[in-house]
């Protein structure tokens, strides 16, 4: 656990000092929102509130899922480029702790990106700021669970793809089919929260999402040693 925190602290310090990954990821997420806005049409007047909520939730989570793939891809790629990946794997301590540390290091910047993407997306797609109340507290809970799931999956696969040709193209191709439940659960929960506020259905989705997160983190921690050894 201590080595996990050490790795995470190192990654967060690097992210805080250089800010290149953070800025690139945030910029990327903003662009995805913009492209989606253009592609889906900016005419919010013709939609019912439920449709607007669904659209905004979909746009925000599309942007975050893609941003997670970009951000997590950097987590191991930066070690690889610095020639530090092998040393990192040689340090004493279980490999699972390295995964957890990397995951925490990915989640930090991703949380910052999400904190900016969520309100911006909701504003741009007309789900916030149009007079109706927005349940921010509940939305932050959904966002936390959502980025944990996205980060857990993409970090795990980025360790696998880091040594391969075409790693940037492969990471989303491998990770997204696994992350479909996260996308579905977060979009549903966010859409429902925006349209009708907290309900039993939201609770069900959040429990499912939390279960998925815990399961994925445990599975990835156990399998991480196999994925990177040798």
């Amino acid at each position: 656990m201590k080595s996990a925190l050490t790795v995470a602290a190192k990654d967060l310090r690097v992210a805080g000092r250089t800010r290149d990954t953070l800025l690139a990821t945030a910029f990327f997420a903003g662009l995805v929102l913009l492209v989606l806005g253009l592609a889906l049409g900016g005419d919010t007047a013709g939609r019912t509130p439920t449709q607007t909520a669904g659209l905004a939730a979909g746009a925000v989570w599309t942007a975050l899922a893609l941003a997670a793939a970009v951000g997590a891809g950097r987590a191991f790629a930066q070690e690889q480029e610095a020639g530090a990946l092998e040393q990192l794997l040689l340090y004493p301590g279980p490999h699972g702790a390295l995964y957890l540390g990397k995951l925490l290091g990915v989640l930090g910047p991703l949380a910052v990106v999400a904190a900016f993407t969520l309100p911006t997306g909701l504003l741009l797609f007309g789900a916030a700021g149009a007079g109706q109340g927005v349940p921010w507290g509940a939305l932050f809970l959904v966002t936390g669970l959502g980025i944990l799931g996205l980060g857990a999956g993409t970090t795990f696969y980025s360790a696998i793809t880091v040594n391969l040709r075409a790693r940037e193209a492969l990471l989303p191709a491998l990770a997204f089919p696994i992350l479909v439940p996260v996308v579905i659960a977060t979009v549903k929960a966010t859409g429902l929260l925006l349209a009708d506020g907290w309900s039993d259905e939201v609770t069900t989705w959040l429990v499912f999402l939390a279960g998925f997160d815990v399961g994925t983190v445990i599975l990835a921690t156990l399998l991480f040693g196999f994925a990177v050894e040798g």
Binding site: I160, T161, F208
Partner: protein
């Protein structure tokens, strides 16, 4: 080379059972609503069954490889994934051909359809990543991890998509499923025979592909050794 009786016997059994399934399927009475279209089910359902069997196989053989580190499990996992992808494509194409005249659309976002499409992507990725790693041991290890995770997430995907669809769409599908099974018990028997035949087919294909993979590996190693020898001869 030693005569491989098991493969031949398995092949003959597969051929025989497929023949029986075809004969039964063609002699089964036509469905009142669907006409001859109902026959598509005798291929569609067993090939879906086979593809899920193959995906389970990929995960299982991957796990066995990680535990034992014997390369034959990796070869079987590869064989299983290839068979799975092949039969998933056949399942989806067959299902689409049936769906267009019956549901009026080639594709609906039903849980089963979506999960099948997603598993195609998962195992496509599995085969893709195999083709990108040259070192056989590393390939086997990484592929085993990817295959194992993929197999574990197929049911989770199904669950998520099933909830995502809500009640509205599934109702129609349940109705259709009901028609199929209430119609005539003979269909159930044909399906059972066809499923059995496809299970044998899986075992046969798995064995043949596994043998092929083993020979490919042996050839690669032989070529490598010959290269090494010729290089040593050149160096003198």
């Amino acid at each position: 080379m030693k005569q491989d009786r098991v493969t031949t016997g398995l092949g003959l059994a597969t051929l025989l059972s497929l023949g029986v399934a075809i004969a039964l399927g063609l002699s089964a009475p036509l469905d009142v609503n669907q006409g001859s279209l109902v026959r598509l089910f005798f291929v569609h359902v067993p090939s879906a069954w086979l593809s899920y069997l193959a995906y389970g196989g990929t995960g299982l053989f991957g796990l066995l490889y990680l535990l034992t580190r014997q390369r034959r499990w990796d070869r079987l996992a590869l064989a299983s994934a290839e068979i799975g992808v092949l039969f998933t494509v056949s399942t989806i194409v067959g299902g689409m051909l049936w769906a267009k005249p019956t549901w009026g659309a080639y594709w609906v976002w039903d849980a089963r359809l979506t999960t099948t499409a997603l598993s195609l992507v998962i195992y496509g990725g599995y085969l893709l990543i195999r083709s990108l790693i040259d070192d056989p041991d590393r390939r086997a290890r990484v592929a085993a991890v990817v295959g194992l995770v993929g197999t574990l997430y197929v049911p989770i995907n199904y669950m998520a998509v099933e909830w995502w669809r809500g009640v509205h769409q599934t109702q129609t599908l349940k109705l259709l499923g009901g028609i199929r099974f209430d119609a005539a018990p003979i269909y159930g028997w044909v399906l059972l025979v066809a499923t059995l035949a496809f299970t044998l087919l899986y075992a046969y294909l798995l064995r043949v592909r596994g043998i092929l993979a083993a020979r490919e590996e042996a050839r690669e190693e032989r070529e490598l050794m010959e290269d090494l020898k010729s290089m040593e001869a050149l160096r003198g």
